[in-house]
Amino acid sequence: MASLSIRQIRKVYTNGVEVLKGIDIEVQDGQFLILVGGSGSGKSTLLNMIAGLESVTSGEIRIGERIVNELQPKDRDIAMVFQSYALYPSMTVRQNIAFGLGVKKVPRAEQDEIVERVAQTLQITHLLDRRPAQLSGGQRQRVAMGRAIARKPALFLFDEPLSNLDAKLRVEMRAEIKRLHQRLKSTIVYVTHDQIEAMTMGDLIAVMKDGVVQQLGTPQDIYDNPANLFVAGFIGSPSMNFIKAELGVDQAGAPFIALDNAGRPMRLALPFAAAALSAYVGKTVILGIRPEQITDLGTAHGEAGQELHCLIDLVEPTGPDTLLTTTLNGTAVTCRAHPREAVLPGHSMALAFNLSKATLFDPESGQRIA
């Protein structure tokens, strides 16, 4: 068990490409940190640097109280689970799990004991004498985790461990890793490109893009208060609606958003203080509103909502909810409604817009305004 602290980490390759541009992340002992981002965001590079598999250009990585920048992977007290599982093909499951212990010269009897215990924890006891080639994807994943657990590291590193599994198994293993974390209370750094994994598993999420941490926070905080357009669009499925619109102020001095609803000009009042927005009045801004904040009147019952009649273009039932698509200001806008309330495509229905959690972004910088 240990904390992890990443301070001003930069990585520049010899060809001059800067893949990490000053990363600062503090992870408490026992926390589950998710590094999430698209490909090329630098998340895997950062993980490899924590592991000691890539060198650090500048900055400082501490595991516990130790600065580990110059330490070999084996001296960092870490374990890593890879996307491809990276099980040793020529060894049995038992040998795979015990390999690291053998290298550390743990006595044979103790090795056997640890392997047994780990196998029980992960329910792979019956697989111990098989080779990786004889295992299914989910079983390999478990063995890879077993190999990591056996070493009792201070820090676990996961590199997209679920990407090679099918959808159903992925959900199962997701829950299992989370349960494992709750039981072992270990510190984990987990890299993924899947925002659902990030939301469901992490205590702390670092959303990365172009070698910069766009936002670091708890899942709920990042979901409710995205720092910029990228984070707002990346986290959440279906993603947040972005509507380009002009910001106005009415006679009473309250800000509103001007909308073109199928040719009819309309307004949505914003629950923000006009003073904070004064610089943007009369200019185009981007309104960010999540699909569940636009719903049918029945579902919205009791909540503050502004009613608009909208023409529905597309209806996508998901089971618990039905996703409706309408067009505002020339942009497709997704709404989440109760299946019973959904109308057929081409019909109009009343939708309640709840703007209490709406966000505004500067269209040029992409940064959050309000």
């Binding site: 592991a51 000691g52 598999l53 992977p73 084996k74 990276a86 390999f99 290298v103």
Partner: protein, 284 residues
Amino acid sequence: MKSMTPARFILYLLLALFMLYYIAPLYVMVSTSFKTLDEIRSGNLLSLPHAINGAAWQRAWSSACTGTTCEGLQPFFWNSIKMVLPAVGISTLLGAFNGYVFAHWRFRGSEWLFTGLLVGCFIPFQVVLLPMAGLLGQFGLANTTVGLVFVHVVYGTAFTTLFFRNYYVGVPEELIKAARIDGAGFFLIFRKVVLPISGPIFVVCIIWQFTQIWNDFLFGVVFASGEAQPITVGLNNLVNTSTGVQEHNVNMAAAIIAALPTLLVYLVAGRYFVRGLTAGAVKG
């Protein structure tokens, strides 16, 4: 089972013809080697021997003249064995090690070094003859089996490195990373993780090297004389040593003896050879 259409019939006919065409020389060699000289002179090249007569094999192995000595191919055969085993072993192991480094432990300039080694594959034997002779002379290895082993190891390492490197490029990098995190070092990873999965490429390499080195004539005739000459040189001397009559049956038996070890290696490991080649090709 598919029915025999005319097209298929023609196909099989062609295949059978080609098979006969390819096997004919071997047939002639084997049948001639069991004939007596009289039979060869009076009979047809393609006819079967009247009786199996092993005298020619006896002579080829132990008493045919190769220049001034008349001990048959036997001493040359053992020379070749003494040369081929260490040469194949050393060059294959070196290649495995080099390949591991070039595939998974790249260092500054390693690409250049690898390219340099590749060029080594394309240097014709003849080019290195003179400088190599000088080098062997300086080391005091001229005309010895050790010298021949050295030459073949130097020449073969370029090929074996290429084979192993291309095979190991297909070994996922994450495997090496996992082992590093597990605490294993450079040599331990090689021994415990990489070598145990190298079976197919070892077979390819051993067959390739064995065939190359066993069948080599040029290095053998240039760098070894008398005591250390390999079987290819022995065969040449045997065939060219004229005692008035050309003993075709002995020549044929000698040629088969010289070719037998490589044939054997192919028969035993040929299946893996094709498999290993394609595995390396696809992954490389």
